[in-house]
Symmetry: C2
């Protein structure tokens, strides 16, 4: 993903194998020493010194196609060659995996993943349609690649199929096609990244309002095919809600959805591509609904005596129709942890401020020994949001909470996209760190929290005495909440991949037992395949396969994903 | 539809051929003399006396299956026979058509429609699944029937197919399965009618908020498969927005959608059935999102100097995020007409009141010679809607409008479901009367209004000097508005069906030329088939056919509808 945004560092990256796998902007990369409090906390809890001695191989030696085969491929894609086709090892390596802990482990171990044989970088819809048609005629697998930021194995290639594997790198396919200010829609090519898209819209006074944590390094097309959500989706809506029209290139040809999402003109095929993870084709041109930029924000910050009260508060809020954009209710451990590690570091975050400013209140309020902090942000446009803010504040007391200084909200906003950088340095210091999430009915939020704590405490892979389990609610609906989990524990050296599989299985099994969805916004990918197959109705699966057969009869599109 | 709600009148209806085709509750049926002002208005404009001399035949003589064939059918559906199968002529006639002007014409002419050979009335999901399986195995066509209130020919049978035709009458399939107050959802069997559904929810303090004009005589399942909207859908959402989960019986078996609409667990098949018009199967169990009943309503009523200003006002409102439930901006002729006909009749409506109360203001405001009235209603729950109401009121002046007394809103609410009764007496008096609607981009609302006026004035079938064309905007989105048209003109005796076809073609062609959708909430039915096939992307159509082949390989489900 850095390729398109940071072209100057491109060459440098390809020759720095120890860095290419890292998250984000190379200039923003952090070291464990940038988080001294966290380092101390882990070292004290784990009774050890964190050692920086885990690195990826210096050389990968990816298999190369024979020259004759390359020649055949150049012929097959003659009309886009040579500018857009690459067999270069570094370029292939860079698109081999996503950005999850499991992906990084595979890179570090130098095993468990397959690289594509070539990378093609189209820049028009017609390029893409041509490539899919030729690939289908010649039985070449196509793996669409957007920002490469997926964290559930959506970019892993299927090792079990012998066909030529071609990654379709969409990062150069990213023009604005139209802003329609009269109808508040904008049409983009799907490879556009978050910051570029928002900059174009912001300059005209608009926003899409889609801000996933990967915002800087993920694409519009990626958001659609993963059914993505952003940090402000409770107000702006998920990708299910933000798209009005799409054009799609498939091996069977190009199709378009109906012009409107809200009409009565038969079945609209648009929703078939939201969450389709590239198995039907490539979503190319996307018309999104845009909104006027808010004039300002109102923050509401509150503390609750426990997670249950905070969760019940949020349920009441969602069911009353209150729509904050940002919602984040941290459990007691996450609140404590963030407070502790942020207290004297440069990018110190919100809980430190909160501690200082609210200290007096803390003392007065004796029941609040292990508070759960909630931060909420309300965008305010032409219509006042005062009634929502007043209602939200007024309801806090009913759930035994107390309001806290709202200034901490801005601190959160400054740091909102920075957390992923921390992961990489922790891995280098032999720390297991992963995040998992689900949508769960309100009745199960507290039960799932308790059950996960209990099950993790039983798990050898997680290690009760050392493992750290943090949870927060990040999106609210009238019937359900998105729960987001962060897990840290010492890496089990020699069985890193197995340790991850143990913990992933434990967490996802527990989620499923509590009526949670496979995922709320990370997607199915490879990591959730096993559960997806149980979760999805068998006849519904057959329906999806019949669509697949129609649009991709040779099965070349992203093989191994979803039901394929 | 009256069958299930008015069992006492059932027998009476079956022996009163002149009445069975009428809208709604027989006790509510109106005569032209109940609308004396309208009668005078039409007679003056048309320079004629309206004569009540057009009636349906006294007897229809529907073809009967031979006794041997009936015996075979009883065997095929052995496990639901005899209670639920009927070959009765009156029962078959009553489900032969919907409630459009064109449907009524066909009944009056005794031509142009086909009756089913039998009617089955299942009362459980398992009944329905059994019937579909048996019908598929034995090549019997199934036509699902909900409230029977469709106005675009959705219930017309395909005369070109020789198979036995069986109407599946779902009016007894209507239990509440669950109200989940913790998650604000409710699960119903799909044959439940509006009033029964709302009563169940209201008793617990909730509402679905779906109030189509057909509310009293249409079903939950019908709303879903037609992509219905209600009069308050700008706030509550269309059926696309109100359903969280469905169970569907199909010839290939039963399927269920994913548990949540907003997650990232692959492609959800739920949207495939919204607007599916019965061609894939029968939506059986439906979980809808419910809301707490509003505590009260706030009305905003305004007058604008012309339709363009009113339309621009509504666009600004929608794009600022204001969400009234009821929105109705009448053009100048509709405003005038309603004002005139309602002024001294029992069910006199709003404009009369408005006239009286606003008379002084009218005088002061000299430019308002042909005002367009806008009524809007804002439901108020736990959160104050004052900021929306204040914004909406404040914006009126910018668009050269003036606020008018808000009391007229309640008058509209009293009459909101009564208009359809008027249609039947007008037909008996040889009046052409139909309604058509579309979703159209904001840039085209005024253009479409002008173009329709112009094209209708050129049309012999419409008759410029006598024809009356009324328009209003009924739903608003940030990119588009639903425009709703009422057309009245003297019936062309001897070519009633052709006259309707001429006018329907003219209106729909003009809608299509102005980027309108096939329909915003009436559905495709038979009437829009021709345009639907041009409107829908050919490859998208192929995708829908592949789904059809999977779920209904023999093509028994509602043949002739949509792409089938």
């Amino acid at each position: 993903m850095f390729l398109s945004n940071y072209p100057i560092t491109l060459c440098k990256l390809f020759f720095m194998h120890r860095d290419w796998w890292k998250w984000g902007d190379p200039n923003e990369v952090k070291h464990i020493n940038d988080y001294p409090k966290l380092k101390v906390l882990l070292e004290e809890r784990w009774k050890t010194h964190l050692r920086e001695d885990f690195f990826p191989p210096k050389k990968f030696n990816l298999p190369q196609l024979p020259e004759k085969k390359k020649e055949q491929i150049r012929d097959i894609f003659a009309s886009v060659y040579p500018k857009k086709i690459s067999f270069n090892e570094d370029e292939r390596l860079a698109v081999s995996l996503g950005k999850s802990y499991y992906d990084v482990l595979k890179i570090f171990k130098g095993e468990g993943f397959v690289s594509p044989d070539l990378v093609i970088s189209p820049s028009t819809h017609d390029d893409i349609q041509y490539i899919l048609t030729q690939a289908s005629d010649n039985n070449i697998q196509i793996i669409p690649y957007g920002g490469g930021s997926n964290v559930v194995g959506a970019l892993s290639l299927d090792a079990n199929r012998p066909e030529i594997k071609c990654t379709l790198d969409l990062r150069k396919y990213k023009r604005l096609l139209k802003i329609d200010e009269e109808h508040l829609t904008a049409t983009f090519e799907s490879g556009i990244f978050g910051p570029e898209l928002e900059k174009i819209l912001n300059n005209k006074g608009y926003t899409l309002g889609h801000f996933p944590q990967s915002f800087e390094f993920s694409t519009l097309g990626g958001w659609i095919v993963t059914r993505g959500a952003g940090q402000e989706s409770t107000y702006y809506g998920k990708m299910e809600d933000l798209v009005e029209h799409i054009k799609v290139a498939t091996p069977a040809g190009t199709l378009e959805s109906n012009p409107f999402t809200h009409d009565a003109s038969g079945v609209n095929v648009l929703p078939l591509f939201i969450g389709s993870e590239g198995v039907f084709g490539v979503v190319t041109e996307v018309t999104v609904k845009i909104k006027k930029l808010p004039k300002n924000y109102r923050w509401v910050v509150a503390l609750f005596p426990d997670f249950r009260e905070g969760s019940n508060y949020l349920k009441a809020l969602a069911q009353a129709g209150v729509k904050p954009s940002v919602v984040r209710l941290s459990d007691a451990i996450e609140t404590h942890m963030f407070s502790k590690i942020a207290s004297s570091e440069e990018q110190h975050g919100f809980v430190n401020d909160l501690k200082k400013e609210a200290q007096k209140l803390f003392l007065q309020w004796k029941n609040l020994s292990e508070p759960c902090v909630l931060i909420m942000r309300f965008p305010q446009g032409e219509i006042s949001v005062s009634s929502q803010v007043i209602y939200a504040k007024g309801l806090v007391e009913k759930y035994k909470g107390m309001l806290a200084p709202a200034t901490v909200g801005d601190k959160w906003a400054e740091q909102r996209f920075k957390t992923p950088y921390l992961r990489d340095t922790l891995v280098e210091h032999n720390v297991f760190i992963d995040t998992m999430e689900t949508l769960v009915p309100w009745k199960d939020t507290q039960k799932l929290h308790v059950a996960l704590t209990r099950e993790l405490n039983k798990s050898v892979a997680f290690n009760k005495n050392k493992g750290i389990f943090l949870a927060h609610i990040s999106h609210i609906y009238s019937n359900a909440a998105c729960m987001y989990f962060t897990l840290m524990t010492p890496m089990q050296k020699g069985r890193e991949l197995e340790q991850w599989q143990d913990i992933k299985t434990l967490v996802t099994d527990t989620i499923m037992q509590h009526n949670g969805s496979i995922s709320h916004h990370h997607s199915v990918g490879s990591d959730h395949q096993k559960w997806y197959k149980k979760y999805t109705d068998p006849l519904a699966m057959e329906v999806l396969k019949s669509i697949k057969n129609k649009l991709d009869p040779k099965g070349i599109m992203n093989p191994g994903k979803l039901f394929s």
